[in-house]
Amino acid sequence: MVAIIEQVFREQWGRIVAALIGFLGDVDLAEEAAQEAFAIAAERWPRDGVPANPGGWLLVTARNRAINRIRRDATLAVKTRLLEVPEGGQDAMEPTTFPDERLELIFMCCHPALGTDAQVALTLRTLGGLSTDEIARAFLVGEATMAQRLVRAKRKIKAAGIPFRIPADELLPERLAAVLAVVYLIFNAGYGGRDELASEALWLGRALADLLPDEPEVHGLLAMMLLLDARRDARMLDGEIVLLADQDRARWDREQIRRGRVELDRALAQPGHGPYVIQAAIASLHAEEPRDWPQIAALYGELSRLTSSAVVELSRAIAVAEDQGPEAGLAIIDQLALDDYHYLHATRGELLSRLDRIAEARAAYGRALALVHDDAERRLLERRLTELSASA
């Protein structure tokens, strides 16, 4: 029963909160009501059985709780839209077909008038149902700091009139980009080993793809996340990083790679390919053996033109080095203004060692080591440096 309630929570929390915000016009009230409804479910369902439509049941329960609270509390009534809710009146929302307002919610959470940190926290809280404590731990900040961040963001939504609405067509591309950036950020935070964030990002990406089936970048982002996440189990071995070329492919999630490619095909079938579609295509090529380096290099070139990012150029340099030899890669790297980026020096070290320019390679790895923060990455660099000494 606990498992069932957890599953319903996972599937329904975002929809219920979204519908309640749409109805009540208040985030705090919506969250409290949703929480109360789940608490009542935990008490009643084991006794009475799970209702036929758990989501609808929870929504009606939450809504009734909120209405009762508003009736008891006159000041609350002034603050919400429920000034004149008729007693026992017609249900505005049929429990079986209550509107899915998660898009309205995610666009509100990711509104550019909120800071990125606040966008991420709000999205995880309201749509994902993560507790303040869980979000705080995931982003390595104190619970009080995170609580403060959420309170401030919710206060701004109310005070500044941030709309609970899908943006107008002319605003949509820019606002959607902000939403995708938030999901990607959550995924990236999870890529560093915090698995619950990676699966949260996948879940949000899936929901967005269902809600916006005609947006290629939405499918592109989901495809990229699925393809990268499919290698999760192979990426680390006993706490140590395993580079893609050395990964045990038996540990790749083949089914997830297949699903990633389905999403990629969906994205490619639509006009207009942005950075996520290209990154998904690259991730898909990386899952093949042997890898098609000329094609990977060409896609990084396209991505580089779109994003003007030196980090992307570095990735292109790696692909070019595999295709045309280390010198060709080094020629690109030496043009990049990324001197503080440890991956640049690690890459130089690797390419120089392939050319048997051992002293230069050692210096490059040394520079990378001076810049790296992550412990697992540091150990990887130290291993490479040791191998280099052994071969010298």
């Binding site: 008038a113 941030i162 107008a168």
Partner: protein, 118 residues
């Protein structure tokens, strides 16, 4: 929702300055036209014209003594250059109006500040 829209001129040339005089006539006309259109926008209550921030005087009281200094509270470039009140449905509608203020595209910025309700 009601918003106080604060116009910061930043590096926008404003009359009467040599930079403003140096602008081509069509640019000056475009700025005037932009503000006329703004003032006629539904929901906008135009603010009063403000003289240049250089003419401002800043007053503080310390230990019961009134201290008066020349110039605005912040740097001249950061001083408020004008304002208007906007009645709009929500922040997106207010952002839309703010983006039409000529100063926003000419080196200045608009601060969209909700009017307090408590």
């Amino acid at each position: 929702m009601q918003y106080m829209m604060l116009i910061y001129q930043g590096t926008t040339p404003t009359p009467p300055s040599p930079e403003w005089e140096a602008l081509p006539d069509e640019d000056k006309q475009a700025v005037y036209q932009g503000y006329r259109a703004l003032n006629e926008t539904p929901g906008v209550t135009p603010g009063m014209a403000m003289a240049a921030p250089e003419t401002a005087t800043t007053v503080r009281v310390q230990d019961g003594k009134t201290l008066t200094t020349d110039g605005p509270f912040v740097e001249i470039k950061e001083a408020v250059g004008g304002y208007f009140i906007l009645e709009a449905d929500d922040l997106d509608a207010a952002i839309e109006v703010a983006s039409k203020v000529p100063a926003a595209a000419r080196g200045g910025a608009i601060e969209v500040r909700p009017i307090g309700s408590w």
